[in-house]
């Protein structure tokens, strides 16, 4: 008998008392009903608590803000589908040398990504209450590796994509895409259960909230 048949048989045998699956009481909150200003305020508060750096700007100011944040980067990578205008601001115009583009059809190697200082991505949805940004691998977010290996992640969140609480956010997402939920820079609580920011993932997380 195969292990599969054996295990399923054991489980069926274990359930011979035929327990009934209960109705799931979903009395928990499904929506938050905060307006956009309140959502932005809450998201900023939570991200700052995680030691992420956050700024709130008008959509038109995003390129300038990105350029400022990239000022010290010797090189950076962007997903091929990133808004072309974002990394072509006044300061980043002559960026041919330090700007790298990554896509599924033309991916950078891991070693190449390790040599890059920063990454700029968009995001799929954010959760204000928990300070969480979700990337779903869409063209403006790219492969998972690019937002992981460089040490500085600059992530743009559109204000319209901020949900109040987790259930609202997950309902906007296709669960079968490769997903990464990010809540602040990498951190550990492994030494005396005290949180320390900055381990293997990007040690610096800049979030630009675009109104």
């Amino acid at each position: 008998m195969s292990a599969r048949e054996d295990i399923l048989g054991r489980i069926r045998s274990a359930l011979r008392d035929a327990p009934v699956a209960p109705q799931i009481p979903r009395e928990y909150r499904a929506t938050s009903e905060l307006d956009q200003d309140a959502l932005i305020h809450l998201l900023v508060d939570r991200l700052v608590d995680y030691k992420a750096r956050v700024c709130v700007v008008d959509a038109a100011e995003v390129p300038e803000r990105i350029a400022e944040l990239l000022a010290d980067a010797r090189s950076y990578v962007v997903p091929a589908g990133l808004d072309a205008g974002w990394t072509a601001g006044p300061h980043s115009a002559p960026d041919g040398d330090r700007r790298r583009e990554d896509s599924v059809s033309a991916p950078l190697t891991v070693a190449e990504l390790d040599g890059v200082d920063a990454v700029v991505t968009g995001s799929a949805v954010a959760v204000a209450e928990t300070g969480t940004i979700i990337l779903d691998g869409s063209p403006n977010q790219g492969r998972r590796a690019i937002s992981l290996v460089p040490d500085h992640h600059i992530c743009v969140v559109n204000a319209a994509d901020i949900a109040g609480i987790l259930p609202e956010a997950l309902r906007r997402i296709d669960g079968t895409r490769p997903l990464t939920m990010i809540s602040g820079p990498s951190a550990t609580s492994d030494i005396e259960l005290e949180r320390v920011e900055g381990v293997h993932g990007p040690r610096n997380l800049d979030v630009i909230i675009a109104r």
Partner: protein, 524 residues
Amino acid sequence: MSTFLGMPSLPVFGTGNLHAAESFPTAAHRELGNAQLRANLGHATHTIRDKRLQVVSELPDWEQLRDAGSAIKESVMARLPELLEQFEQNFTAHGGVIHWARDADEANAIVAGLIRDTGETEVVKVKSMATQEIGLNEYLEEQGITAFETDLAELIVQLDHDKPSHILVPAIHKNRTEIRDIFLREMPGADPELTDNPAVLAMAARAHLRRKFLTAKVAVSGANFALADSGTLAVVESEGNGRMCLTLPETLITVMGVEKLLPSWQDLEVFMQLLPRSSTGERMNPYTSLWTGVTEGDGPQNVHLVLLDNGRSAALADELGRSALHCIRCSACMNVCPVYERTGGHAYGSTYPGPIGAILSPLLTGIESEENSSLPYASSLCGACYDACPVKINIPDILVHLRSVDVDSKRGKKKLPSQMDVGMKAASWALSSGKRLGLLEKGLPLGRLAAGPDQKITKLPGIAAGWTQSRDIPAPPQKSFRDWWAKEHHGPESGGTNAPAQGNAPADAHNNAQAKAQDKEDGA
């Protein structure tokens, strides 16, 4: 599969690192002698308790989330065969490969075979309870494959050739100075000027593992959740070592217990609120990765999942104990447990320590396995674990249930009744009649005699000696409560005519002053 319906079979128990090699009291006695351990654990568990309480109190619907979480898991257990088949179908449809393992040996052999097929001799690992449980690292080492633990606490434990003592923070028994010393001793190229600042230590781990992450071709992980309706797996982590292992290698092998399923994507909204707040006391953990089979051009292109039974079907067969399988490995129960806080995790022997381990380990292995029958007694039944559990596992009830399973199993094996059996029979005889109890109480002065001039009994005979091993018993009173009561209410000094007749005393009339006040009122 319907041929198996209604065909009862004996439970098949789990193997691997699930056993207490010595009884809990023996192990606990030794661990309690380690003052440094107790100080480290006291500090860490109190830190996390405060954090958990704070983030839990922020959510107005915490109890509703717990109710939903509990019901979802109960539903998973009731529908497990169907959900496993559904998950398999979806995961496979997305290019993943499923393997089934009856026990630890079979799972280890499958993983080693998959690694061998890649031609690699090194793998990076994400912290996983399932692979701890089956002893994967040790097995791989025998097979000539080196497994590098990448979670900071697992790395500390691995470098120190130690065993994990906590399911979330395996190095919780070490303080920062001890960790610094381990790094200096065991980490090649560690900076001799390394300080014990946690941030500095985390940086040292980053430098140590970076090259491994960037060059690894194979990773081994566990999984926190598996969603049946989409075939999606989830790993919840903090450091980014999980993302590294789940994203950069060509081959990913995940080992997961069959009970980790959730029926649907919607259920994730419940568990991703319950788990981070219960485990690290954070509103959300820094990173969660979800993948559904293979995504072309993004992440590992060879994706395997080993579904592990290893005693889970046996635990499921215990109708009163099966809810132990609802556990999402958050560790809140150990962080609030007065026993765990003092003995630490090593005293439990098994991969799963603390209150959940005290029920899960004997359920997975059977109560008769090695010293696991001592684990259900490793509790004062205070119930703090039940209050903290995000999926409302009634751990105290299951502890009591397993104690009775233990007593029944021991009784079944013996020809002669034990001292305990005799004592219990005698107590049952004495306590079932007021007359018999009264007769026995006449013997109290004998106890006073035995106590001697210092009014203490320091050594009881037989199995009762255990009671006096670490404390004395004060001499019994001169007369029993019942004698005193009778005298108070019938004797000349009570003076009351309304005193209740002997034997009708209210059960809660233990307070003399209250009883007297009542007498006066009645007499007025």
